[in-house]
Subunit: 293 residues, 4 copies
């Protein structure tokens, strides 16, 4: 079983100036920065990585490049979600074939899915690959909210679904995962402003794009929580909370890309219809970042 | 300006036995049935048509084939929604180039869009084509709920956004469209079990997949409403309501495809993860349909 | 069985200048106005009547006075809702003893009630009186939303629960009442801006405070709907909709009391913490009313 | 300024066998138990105390008796919420006159209140008494959700509103109170299954009925949190969480009263329509309690 833990850094997907092409060298630099800063794992093609906005061929290029560039320095977790089961299976196999350590699956949907359909989707993906799957629950982007009961049913039914990323922001979901899963189902927090409480509740890791901008604060919070030092964890959390709130409110691709640009790494803008961060937002971000350094 | 009105029939997209390929001849037959039954317009590639589950090349084939097959017997309204503005523009141009009379646009999203982003998305599409656009609001599938204020702002700002399809099921939205739009913005109902009240409130048409199964009842309801005959409209509505509820609850692709199969037209199953209608559901559907014929 | 139908006029509860005492003569005048205008029934002590804000002794005075003053010119429907079953039973008996034709019961709650608790509450009240009960569903004020299934279970279990007032504003509830109740459970609309569609769907009456201000328009809408004249009903509805929206948005006690004052009947202000209508609101109301007369 | 902190124990209101009368001696015993167990404050007439279900005279008796019986051994916090401002003012004055250290105010409502109405309600109560007010936000029972912005506006505008009890269960509210209140507005947690995370986020106390049943576990959790010992706090929290979930799900009056009966203190049942705990629930409660002792 994989030992995914700690700060799991999500990468953006850099685009060339006109937003049309990929900028893989910039992606390499952003990965190197994250690893140098000390993150415990790298996760390409997630929400932050605009995975949903890429063509299939672009998706393949980013997946292959990212895995190769990480080069096992830390584990790579590749988001392989897609609207049809067939396409998600294809992506999962592609990721495994190119060396992904873990794949992450959100039950993306257009039509609302029944619980049986969701379970069947995970089973089909699970049976098509050998690497572990991190189940990802995020109704705000997927439109599908999986109850803890359903999640545990999937974990029990599909052998390689071994981890759960919870992004509802509802701490009671983590309590239930802990109690009903009898402490045997590692869960990871995907809601930035819940970082302190998720660790308090026993989360094994924090899936976040924040280390693109403030890696040391993220890592320090994790270390304080692991050391059981509540006062230090609380102080560290409240220090970084304004930034965590800002990137959530402003949208991860827009704010993280703007922040990287401010620190000298040009990664282009998000793809339309998602706007780049406004001038006012850029100023606000600069002010917040200045306080934190 | 286009004069879209009445019963706007949504087509399914038939797949071959294993679910992999398209079955265009069956699509042609389903279109012919709809037109023969008397629908006032044909709308391919909507939610019912599993547009979101097709590859780009499949989408192009279905759009081109549908438009050609309708062959101007009635207007064709093609759904061109896509996650990025660039891709939606491409589809809109493709549809126009192949003869679509109207394109329909849902602000599909992964990241929640701001009102400015939504407006800009419609403007970009509007400026790239000459045919009218039917704006489509359906938060249940798009994740984005457009307020009536925003909708009217878009209608005012983008010249060829001239029609509104409302699928929230909240009749007050139609009241606001009528009052704030001063009766100048034609609206269409996309929520099947609201058909009676939408016509009562002044809807100009009903966007529905139901005429694949019960065209005469749909058309009769429309005629009674246009004739101002409330008692007859109510009777007709309550007669067909069990079927309307059933197809909404069971999912349009699954229920309509099952219903077509029961009437002798094989159109395959929905694409996974969406399940085909269960055996129990098929029996229930048969029972409901028997009562209505 | 009672034959409650048509426009059911809700009365305000007039207070003396400082808001402390009751002004029963003004209440008598407001009742006379409503009856003279042609309403089909009178309903004191509802939401509009600030029943929840009265002491027990005030409640008794208003109930007794209202029933006597109506004096069987039309049926009187008294709201007897209270937080405990014992108090609601007391009020129901009091109302019956003083001549109420019907009592209305909202399952008011502080703690969320289970379905068994709600059913038991209605049963206890039903068994303590002989007159019919109008079950009232309004989650916005009661905090408890009764599903149609639960409502029909109560109707079946408690002999004198024979009518349903639905105020969720969700027309599908009425469809379900009609279909599942097999047309045998008369339902009444309590959501003003749904008046047109509720009649379209088969509502037997409209529970509303609007006839304090625009009785003729309310009555005309009812007559047009009963005559099956959809075009006339629609025209009448859209004419009065701005007023219906206004009183809903501004709160019934504040807006109706302000409107009565504008037409020469002083009935005081709502009880704090509910504010009287602001000066701006009064001007807006005057403008709307002027258009309608 | 008062120094309210730690475990704030909420009392039930014991009723005599038939549910009609008060049982003040049993109330005295339950208070003595709580104080003997070490709670830091006593709070009568809250949600647990069925304050909303008492007559005015009963409310007065319980308030007076509780304050006298606590006799300043610990601070007494009396809930004085009522539907009208006048009645809430009367209760606040009554509580102060009889020696309450703090009064707690929930903006109970029938009609939805505007922000101006809520502020005015708190101002009127604040100006009528000299003791501090704990503002209480609990939309699940009051129907009114006060945003953090509104809460801070009230704290700034009304001098003796100096504490905030937050019961939404949304930890982000506490983060905002901490950040926007610049650490100067003490907040208290009123959502039992959020106890661990509320302390992690900096809550100064925990308002809870749980110490009626498991005081030592509640106190130990508080001590561990104050000592900054996250691992111990987490262990203690997960031990007591099944009980905390149970009393929330089953309703506080029903579950706490059943639990007190199981430990030899007869306090009667809740008032109808609220049911006493079912036989199955009693068995479940006994099992949970056995594990914890």
């Amino acid at each position: 079983m994989s030992n995914i833990h700690g700060i799991i850094g999500y990468t953006i997907t850099p685009f060339s100036a006109n937003g049309e092409g990929l900028d893989l060298p910039a992606l390499g630099q952003s990965i190197d920065r994250l690893i140098a800063s000390g993150v415990h794992a790298i996760a390409p093609l997630g929400s932050t990585g605009e995975g949903a906005y890429l063509s299939d061929s672009e998706w393949d290029q980013v997946a292959e490049f990212s895995i190769k560039h990480v080069a096992k320095r830390v584990p790579t977790i590749v988001s392989v979600s897609d609207l049809t089961t067939a396409k998600a299976v294809r992506r999962a196999r592609f990721a495994e074939a190119h060396g992904a350590d873990v794949v992450m699956v959100l039950p993306a949907s257009y039509w609302k899915l029944t619980e049986a359909e969701i379970l069947s989707h995970y089973r089909a993906i699970g049976e098509s690959i050998g690497v572990p799957i991190m189940l990802y629950n995020n109704p705000a982007t997927s439109g599908t909210d999986m109850s803890v009961d359903l999640i545990l049913r999937i974990v029990n039914a599909v052998e390689n679904v071994t981890m759960v990323k919870e992004s509802t922001g509802d701490i009671q979901r983590m309590h239930k995962l802990q109690l009903l899963g009898e402490g045997q189902v590692p869960f990871y927090n995907g809601c930035n402003p819940l970082a302190l409480e998720a660790f308090a509740a026993g989360a094994k890791g924090w899936c976040t794009a924040a280390p693109n901008l403030i890696p040391q604060l993220n890592l320090d919070l994790y270390e304080a929580a692991m050391a059981g030092d509540l006062d230090r964890a609380r102080d560290l959390f409240y220090r970084q909370l304004p930034l965590l709130d800002f990137i959530l409110r402003g949208g991860l691709p827009a704010t993280i890309k703007a922040g990287l640009r401010q620190t000298g790494l040009e990664v282009g803008d998000p793809r339309l219809p998602v706007f780049a961060l406004s001038a006012a937002g850029q100023t606000q971000l600069q002010t917040i970042l200045k306080t934190l350094r």
